[in-house]
């Protein structure tokens, strides 16, 4: 039977002793789970290791932990898969990050994860009940099945990079839960829910778009994608201005891209703080304050020839023909009655849609790009 070496982080805050690592070797087939490895260790060597588990089948959500640097379910991670991420030939097992340790691999989910989930009012606010039943379009319920697949394992929270530097950040699991109700047509408090999140400086706009929660989630919830949908709905459908200037930043970006076809970073900063009106941006007091704050490094950047002062006034720009095309695309797409979105979680991939089997750019592609206006 193949052998695997597990390195388990041990810590018991009650004893006051510092955390340490224990190393054990187990005999198991490579397709067996890391959880089975831990349970064998408990059985054979040390029953005092603290670990939480129940279903052993990726259903209950209790065995979230960090395995070779990545959060996930121990019962849902093969030993072989864990080994493929190993740097030193061992499987390194730690508790989830961003939460206080209770003992060894057990973290305090109440103190962090559940507290945050509770902040988003995780139940349906349905207003006046209909006489019989709610009738909702099938698609909109299919749409919320993605956040509904969450089993509250906390893996996404453990790996969240924004929470690592801002512990108050509401985080991926809670925001995915928020979308579960904002996307539900039966809920009547969409706008209020979004306002609450936009008014919290550690809410909707603190996510850094790092994809960590997407990778960590064992259930395909893709919390980051739900966060982006919340932002889309808050900004465009409800025109909610948030305390982080997130909506303004996004709008600034969108407006500048439409205007120039290329992004000018020097222009995004003042606009993010000052709004996007014709006289907004560079002139508003708030943006002045921000530019002032950035002066030390901006001045250095100018000195080093990195940024030209003129850049903030005359950003680089596409040729006029291309720019006209960009503007036409904006006009056509934004003119639609409804935003067109493709959620691959729901639609899946076309049968022959595997992009990895694709061809390189064909040698003579000019022939087939024939369509005309």
């Amino acid at each position: 039977m193949p052998e695997f070496t597990l390195r388990i982080r041990r810590y018991n805050p009650e004893t006051g002793a510092a955390p340490y690592w224990d190393r054990y070797t187990v005999d198991l087939e490579p397709h067996r789970s890391v959880l089975e490895g831990i349970l064998q260790v408990k059985d054979r060597f040390d029953s005092s290791i603290g670990v939480r588990c129940s279903c052993r089948a990726a259903i209950c959500g209790s065995c979230g932990m960090t395995i070779n640097g990545k959060a996930g379910l121990a019962c849902h991670t093969h030993l072989s898969e864990a080994m493929s991420r190993s740097k030193d030939g061992t499987i390194e097992i730690q508790p989830l990050g961003n939460m206080p340790v209770i003992k060894d691999l057990i973290v305090d989910m109440d103190a962090v994860h559940w507290k945050k989930v509770n902040r988003v009012t995780p139940w349906l606010l349905s207003g006046d009940l209909p006489e019989r039943e709610h009738i909702v379009p099938r698609e909109s319920m299919v749409d919320v099945t993605q956040p509904m697949a969450c089993i509250q394992c906390g893996s996404c929270v453990g790996d969240c990079l924004a929470m690592e530097v801002d512990p108050d950040f509401i985080g991926p699991a809670a925001l995915a839960k928020a979308y579960r109700f904002v996307g539900d047509p039966r809920d009547v408090q969409h706008e209020q829910r979004l306002k609450d999140l936009a008014d919290d400086p550690h809410g909707l706009y603190t996510c850094t778009h790092c994809f960590k929660c997407i990778e960590a989630c064992p259930k395909g919830v893709a919390p980051m994608n739900q966060i982006m949908r919340l932002r889309r709905i808050a900004g465009q459908d409800h025109h909610i201005e948030d305390v982080n200037n997130g909506e303004r930043h996004e709008e600034a970006f969108v407006v500048l891209l439409q205007k120039y076809g290329l992004l000018s970073e020097a222009d995004v900063v003042p606009r993010s703080y000052g709004g996007n009106g014709l006289t907004g941006g560079k002139l508003s007091p708030k943006s002045g304050e921000q530019v002032f704050q950035s002066l030390p490094f901006l001045a250095k950047a100018v000195l080093r020839g990195k940024v030209k002062i003129s850049q903030t006034l005359f950003p680089h720009k596409l040729d006029s023909e291309s720019l006209a095309e960009v503007k036409k695309i904006y006009k056509d797409v934004k003119g639609r009655e409804e935003r067109l979105e493709l959620n691959l979680y729901i639609t899946g991939y076309d049968e022959d849609g595997d992009p990895t089997t694709s061809e390189a750019i064909p040698d003579n592609p000019n022939e087939k790009a024939g369509a005309t206006a």
Binding site: V165, D319, L342, G353, I361, K368
Partner: protein, 305 residues
């Protein structure tokens, strides 16, 4: 050496805030056998922010750039020099390639400009091209000034390491492990530290400045503590937060000794291929790589202990 024609997407930042990146790439390309045909007519990839606003808009703009790339005569593939461009374009490509109906809608918009996107474009970051197409052995053979004793910490940028499926990261192409291989091929020493695959903080610099600067400051400090002389990144947006913001980032984490040069990937390659620090625009950085470079000789040397 094989010469490859590539449809080259430089991105906006490399022509705006970090012109030295674009310059360095143009300099090293011929040495590496890359014939860059620049996609001058392409538009900004949206950097994730536009997709947050409107997916179809983003995918149509990126589909337009793909279609332009597919028109480049003899191009083997499309190449970019920005992790964020790679991520944003790969996201659009994933949707466009996955669903014929959706692709048709986008192509319908593009048809008015005589353009059409054919599914399956190959679009690679320069880092991937170095390892998968040029090859580490060839790269090694081109080195004229090995980066001996230079201790370099890799910094990838989120968009080029996650999500793994979308980016084609698997056992055959472990693209999230390429930076150390390139550093070694150039003769340098790899520094392993906590932040290599984390977020630089740039996406929230205007929204949660404190958290953003803490991210940058923490990774730079971790690199410093692990003994790095410099960091290298394939992402100009990471460069903005790690280099340009470093004077404020170091205050955010209370590490006032922080003085960590951050190199763009083509600059690191360029140094080993024999270009001078000045040619590669290293003098344009906010944190000057003075401790790495003897400006008279342009020999890379480590700092004496």
């Amino acid at each position: 050496m094989t010469t490859r024609t590539v449809a080259y997407w430089p991105g906006c930042v490399s022509r705006g805030f970090t012109p030295e990146l674009h310059g360095a790439m143009a300099l090293v390309a011929p040495k590496l056998g890359l014939n860059l045909v620049q996609l001058d007519r392409g538009s900004c990839t949206g950097a994730g922010v536009l997709a947050e606003h409107n997916q179809e808009l983003t995918d149509t703009l990126n589909g337009r750039t793909f279609a332009l790339a597919q028109k480049v005569d003899q191009a083997e593939f499309m190449m970019n020099i920005c992790s964020t461009c790679q991520g944003a374009q790969s996201e659009s490509q994933e949707r466009l390639d996955a669903n014929a109906e959706y692709r048709h809608t986008v192509n319908h918009t593009l048809a008015q400009f005589g353009l059409s996107y054919d599914k399956g474009i190959v679009n690679k970051n320069f880092l991937w091209v170095l390892v998968e197409d040029i090859g580490l052995d060839v790269l090694k053979s081109l080195v004229v000034k090995p980066l001996t004793d230079l201790k370099v910490g890799p910094f990838y940028g989120c968009y080029i390491v996650r999500p793994v499926d979308r980016l084609g990261i698997d056992e055959d192409n472990p693209r999230d492990t390429y930076l150390p291989k390139v550093i070694e091929a150039l003769g340098g020493t790899v520094i392993d530290y906590a932040g290599s695959h984390k977020c630089c903080g740039f996406p929230i610099i205007t929204m949660n400045k404190e958290a953003s600067l803490k991210q940058a400051g923490t990774h730079l400090t971790d690199g410093q503590n692990a003994g790095a002389d410099a960091l290298v990144t394939p992402c100009p947006l990471c460069h903005l937060n790690l280099d340009m913001q470093q004077p404020v980032a170091k205050k955010a984490v209370g590490n006032f000794d922080l003085d960590m040069p951050v190199l763009h990937l083509p600059q690191l390659v360029g140094l080993a291929l024999g270009f001078s620090a000045k040619e590669l625009g290293l003098n344009k950085h906010v944190v000057r790589p003075t401790k790495l470079i003897d400006w008279t000789e342009t020999v890379v040397a480590s700092v004496p202990a």
